[in-house]
């Protein structure tokens, strides 16, 4: 059983390797454009709400704690506690998505979505090409959007574990799916740990 758990966990880590490279392409684009259009990136990031971003970071860290504790409960056969912790993890995940939705709405109504309707006042006055700010926002929406999509999938996976766990599928001899969903969840937290400073904290002059 242990051999099988290690095998499936190794498989999950390999999948996370692909996720690292998947997000990695976006980080590569970010790195290059930030170096090239630094002022535009500063201007773009000033429209970010640092407090909402920081709250979301804290929310994800708490969700990682409850997730890790939930996996631990599966290891020591405390089924009820496991379910509770996993449900709290889900709630944290939904809270993250809710806050993100608020931010997205704000950006959308301010015409900060790239495309023909993009508007950014005061750019030319500050000597910044507004087209370059669009690139910042392209990366913002693409990176946080992809991250949010992974969060949604993560919430779904945790729900699946909760249901299966409630039916008594897991025990100290068989808890690999719980551990593997946990790995996925922590990975999604990891991506945000980098997204937050890169998108929100570019310069001292940030909005809030």
């Amino acid at each position: 059983m242990d051999q099988q758990r290690e095998t499936s966990t190794f498989g999950m880590w390999l999948f996370l390797v692909t996720e690292i490279m998947f997000f990695g392409g976006l980080f590569c684009a970010y790195l290059i454009y930030r170096a090239t259009y630094y002022e535009a990136f500063v201007a773009g990031s000033q429209t970010m709400n640092i407090w909402l971003g920081a709250t979301n970071t804290a929310v994800l860290i708490c969700s990682s704690l409850t997730m890790a504790l939930g996996v631990r409960c599966a290891q020591i056969d405390r089924k009820k506690m496991m379910i509770i912790l996993l449900l709290i993890t889900m709630l944290f995940g939904l809270a993250f998505l809710g806050i993100k939705a608020i931010e997205y709405h704000e950006h959308w109504t301010n015409h900060q979505f790239p495309g023909p309707n993009f508007q950014f006042e005061g750019a030319e006055a500050a000597g910044i090409n507004p087209q370059n700010i669009q690139i910042y926002f392209s990366l913002y929406w693409a990176m946080t959007g992809l991250h949010a999509l992974h969060m949604v999938i993560g919430v779904g996976l945790v729900l699946w574990i909760v249901i299966a766990g409630a039916r008594g599928r897991y025990s100290p001899d068989y808890y690999a799916p719980v551990e593997n969903v946990g790995l996925y969840w922590h990975f999604v937290d990891l991506v945000w740990i980098y997204l937050f400073p890169l998108l929100y904290l570019i310069s001292k002059k940030h909005g809030g």
Binding site: A29, T36, P116, S138
Partner: protein, 543 residues
Amino acid sequence: MATAVQTVERENYLNAGYGLKSWLLTVDHKRIAILYLISITAMFFVGGFFAMLIRLELLTPAGDLVSSDTYNKLFTMHGITMVFFFLIPSVPAVLGNFVIPLMVGAKDLAFPRLNLLSWYLYMIGATFALVSMISGGIDTGWTFYTPFSTTYSHTNVVGTALGIFIVGFSSIFTGLNFIVTIHRMRAPGLTWTRLPLFCWSNYAASLIMVLGTPVIAITLLLVALERLFHIGVFNPALGGDPLLFQHLFWFYSHPAVYIMILPGMGVISEIVTCFSRKRVFGYEFVALASIAIAVLGFLVWAHHMFVAGISVYAALVFSLLSYLVAIPSAVKVFNWTATLYKGSIRYNTPMLYAFGFIGLFTVGGLTGVFLASLAIDVHVTDTYFVVAHFHYVMVGGMVMAYMAGLHFWWPKITGRMYPEGWAKLSALLVFVGFNLTFFPQFVLGYMGMPRRYHAYPPEFQVLNVLSTAGASVLAVGYVLPMIYFVWSLRYGKLAGPNPWNAVGLEWMTPSPPPTHNFDETPVVTWEAYDYEHQPEEEVAVGH
């Protein structure tokens, strides 16, 4: 030719359950390999159909068969079909899926259901791509360069990109499965240094699949987002850099060519040893060369961008690295050749294809080294020289290796021998047809004929006609095996467990194997390619 119909009575993976559902819901790696065999063969002929139209157009200097827009679609769809739906999956998904669990002494791969999912993802991706091709086509080149693909092309870029995105995950999951299987499911006694080189090669290719494919996935996703929602990171009007697309695209697409060739090289290692009745020369070097190719392959991608506008300093770095990546491939060619020396050589069909591979891959590989030189590349980039180079390694190399492997393991897969006479004829037709098709293209490219053009100056016509003639011969060489392989399913001579008298765990099960592969988990006490201790026997030949 004897036509008495013989049947295999014993229960095996083919007759363990009948009906569509037993095949479409199978988790048996052998059945999944057959499913892949059928779909990949179909896509090969789709790609071949586009090639035929291209070669027909190029018979005459004027662009008179199709319009230039249509021609753009033809070479694009030929490239996409062949690269993503044939070359990348073929050896791993067909031969690897079937043989690797047998070679390591396991019942199946590590994640059988994931394996089935891989095949469904392949089918869904292929459907997206085919529908996009039929309903308007795509004309960006298989390389999807921006801003043409993101802004100016009026064809089904999003649908095709989505198809490639999906089939990319098929590839990722296959690679993941192989890595875990080879690490954790080897039979007792089967240490890494006793592992057949086919496993080493597929392992190395799987590393590339897992590390590289996600990058093209995100890149194509960005192209689709740019077309749909104007999220424009590659849009020059916004200050975006089209070269960033090329960097991200080629970060995968160069290592992708090693995904294609490494499993093929693995096949050649198996065949050269079996048909010279010798241990491979320098086993450790060949094994490590596979890993070296996989790692070094990630360091060279910008050699596709030498004239695109990258800095000349970066170009120098990538040029040097591109020279280095040739070294492990050369090591393999030397070692196969040394294996042949003083070997007891049999000229069965798999061996004929292997000889073809070694010669043609060497030509293709050497011309790759020419292209790595900045000074030469400036002149021949985007000409037929490049086209000839990659067809030598892909078709002269990879496809020959695939044919070699199909013939080698056909008796194990089906329990039948193919007809040796027809097979040898096909191999000869492929070799002659291939060289007639592609050698003139080296000359054409060096003389300056650009690629992706449907019209050309009249002085290039003779060589183009030769090339098209060769393509017709090549086509016959590929159609014949289709016919005789199918024929052999019913009328082929029954093959025993080991018709080639080869060394390897896969030859120690019946042909075809039972669903569970081995009645008892084998224990391995011998080194790889232990032909010294294999009793000398008449190698079986089908008729």
